[in-house]
Amino acid sequence: MQRIPILELGESLFVTVQVDIDDQLAFALQDDLMTKIVATGAKGVLIDISSMEIVDSFLGRMLAGIASMSRILDAEVVVVGMRPVVAITLVELGLSLPGVRMALNVDRGIAMLDEALTAGGGLDDEYSRAE
């Protein structure tokens, strides 16, 4: 089964989620990410969802889950590139992903991760406290 590749970007990991991710692929990504965070000691994870045309409640919760689990493994997650129609639909569905940091695009996401990392291993802010 093909799996979503995870790239190393300095102290962070970088993932681009394809357009059509089925449940199997999603679970595999979750597993692979956690494994890699531990293996590389990564402190940050950037997830690019700009190609995703649909994010339903399963995928939304998956993103939230990845953020929570990563935090436990001492890594911050930033999700970038959510499309406007996807954001509107997700909110209408009842999910607002409160525990997940979001950024407009990859550049902003990297900047956000840098900031979180240089501030010394995780910011004490609403995201960390949200758990």
Partner: protein, 144 residues
């Protein structure tokens, strides 16, 4: 002389059926719903809402209903442009219908079947469920 015979634009063919028995079937179903939504002239936001709702329903059928059947066709009302999606299963049915349809129950907590949420995404929503028999949900999204 004007064209007095209605052009057959291919969007008013009869409904099509799709099995929902696996992960991949759900993905396929999403594609088909998307195609129908595009053909019916729905705006992007409405396409997204419909496909997302269809995904929720299909997942429910798979996870709670033991697999199901999806149907995509034109809206029931004559003259309406849009798409009608039906998802049904022969599963155990919904035990507590009121609870399942109560808003806030499944919000952000990973439980429930996301029915109130799906309902907000569509223009018409009909639900039938009987314990021990199955569940059938019919939704429509219109091109207004």
């Amino acid at each position: 002389m004007t064209n007095t015979v209605a052009p057959n634009d291919g969007t008013t063919q009869g409904p099509r059926l799709y099995p929902i028995l696996s992960d991949n079937d759900v993905v396929q179903f999403r594609h088909e719903v998307r195609a129908a939504a595009v053909a019916a002239g729905l705006r992007l936001i409405d396409q997204t809402k419909l496909v997302t709702a269809a995904s929720e329903l299909a997942r429910n059928a798979l996870e709670h209903g033991g697999g199901g059947l999806g149907e995509i066709g034109p809206p029931e009302a004559v003259g309406r442009r849009g798409v009608r999606v039906i998802v049904e299963d022969d599963g155990p049915g919904i035990a507590d219908l009121d609870l399942a349809l109560t808003d806030g129950f499944s919000r952000d907590n990973g439980m429930g079947m996301g029915l109130p949420g799906s309902r907000r995404l569509v223009d018409s929503f009909d639900l039938w469920s009987e314990q021990g028999v199955g569940t059938c949900v019919i939704v429509e999204k219109w091109a207004l």
